[in-house]
């Protein structure tokens, strides 16, 4: 994280939000490791469908911060962050989007500050899950490493391509098509098995 972004983080507000997110994520990962494989598979399927819908709808474009930002960390925001923390520990998927909405719409933070705080909260919440994931041996290191390296390369290529005229539209369509294929495959295997 750069100093520029770090400077946007409201550490004073995070003193209540970080413990809430971390506690929630520990509960969430405990639940994900406790439930049956079939239940988790169904939960992932449902989450991927919702996430695919969010990818198409792009709810961030509706995100309008209040005209006059007056950030406040009340009980409601702490409870919301705790619940989102449970979600992050459980599946991670779209947890960042939910955090961003909570920080802007409930906390009253501007988008830049909320984005920086979201990264800090997500990093802390996912870090809190790592010891349990490692001790339960539910991490495939080779897969994680290849995915991470591929993701860095993919981001660099995407960043170059997006500058070409009309490219971003086609990249977006390709991505949606890929996710739709994955959703169809997941649904088929779930119904078949």
């Amino acid at each position: 994280m750069t100093f520029a972004r770090a400077g946007r983080i409201d550490w004073h507000s995070l003193r209540f939000l970080l413990p809430a997110a971390i506690l929630g994520s520990i509960i969430g990962v405990t639940v994900s490791l406790s439930i049956s494989m079939q239940s988790l598979h169904w939960a992932i399927n449902a989450t991927v469908v919702i996430s695919a819908a969010l990818l198409v709808l792009q709810p961030r474009r509706w995100l309008r911060p209040p005209a006059q930002t007056n950030p406040r960390v009340g009980v409601t925001l702490v409870i919301l962050v705790f619940l989102i923390g449970i979600w992050i520990g459980f599946i991670v998927l779209d947890g960042g989007t939910y955090l961003l909405f909570a920080l802007v719409l409930v906390g009253g933070f501007d988008i830049a500050r909320a984005s920086a705080m979201k990264i800090a909260l997500m990093a802390a919440a996912t870090a809190a899950c790592v010891p349990q994931l490692l001790s339960s041996q539910t991490v495939n290191w080779e897969f994680a490493l290849v995915l991470t390296v591929g993701s860095v390369v993919g981001s660099v290529i995407a960043a170059k391509l997006v500058l070409l005229p009309g490219a971003s539209k086609w990249m977006y369509r390709l991505l949606v098509a890929l996710v739709v294929v994955e959703v169809l495959h997941l649904t088929y295997t779930a119904l078949d098995g």
Binding site: M37, I119, V130, V146
Partner: protein, 61 residues
């Protein structure tokens, strides 16, 4: 799937993930279902994806 095919699928998934990062907040929408499609157990797919996400968060600029 043989190991070369598996590696190719993972590299493609990683590239798709990078593309997804350009348009969406995460990229888990690509990687998580793909791990399941490759036959990885749900708990392992979830754990692997969480670790991958954490690494990504740490490297965010």
């Amino acid at each position: 799937m043989d190991s070369a095919g598996l590696l190719a699928a993972l590299v493609l998934a990683g590239l798709g993930l990078g593309f997804a990062n350009t348009f969406a907040s995460g990229g888990s929408v690509v990687s998580l279902p793909l791990l399941l499609m490759l036959g990885v157990a749900p708990q392992v797919a979830n754990g692997t994806n969480a670790l991958r996400y954490w690494w990504g968060q740490l490297s965010q600029r």
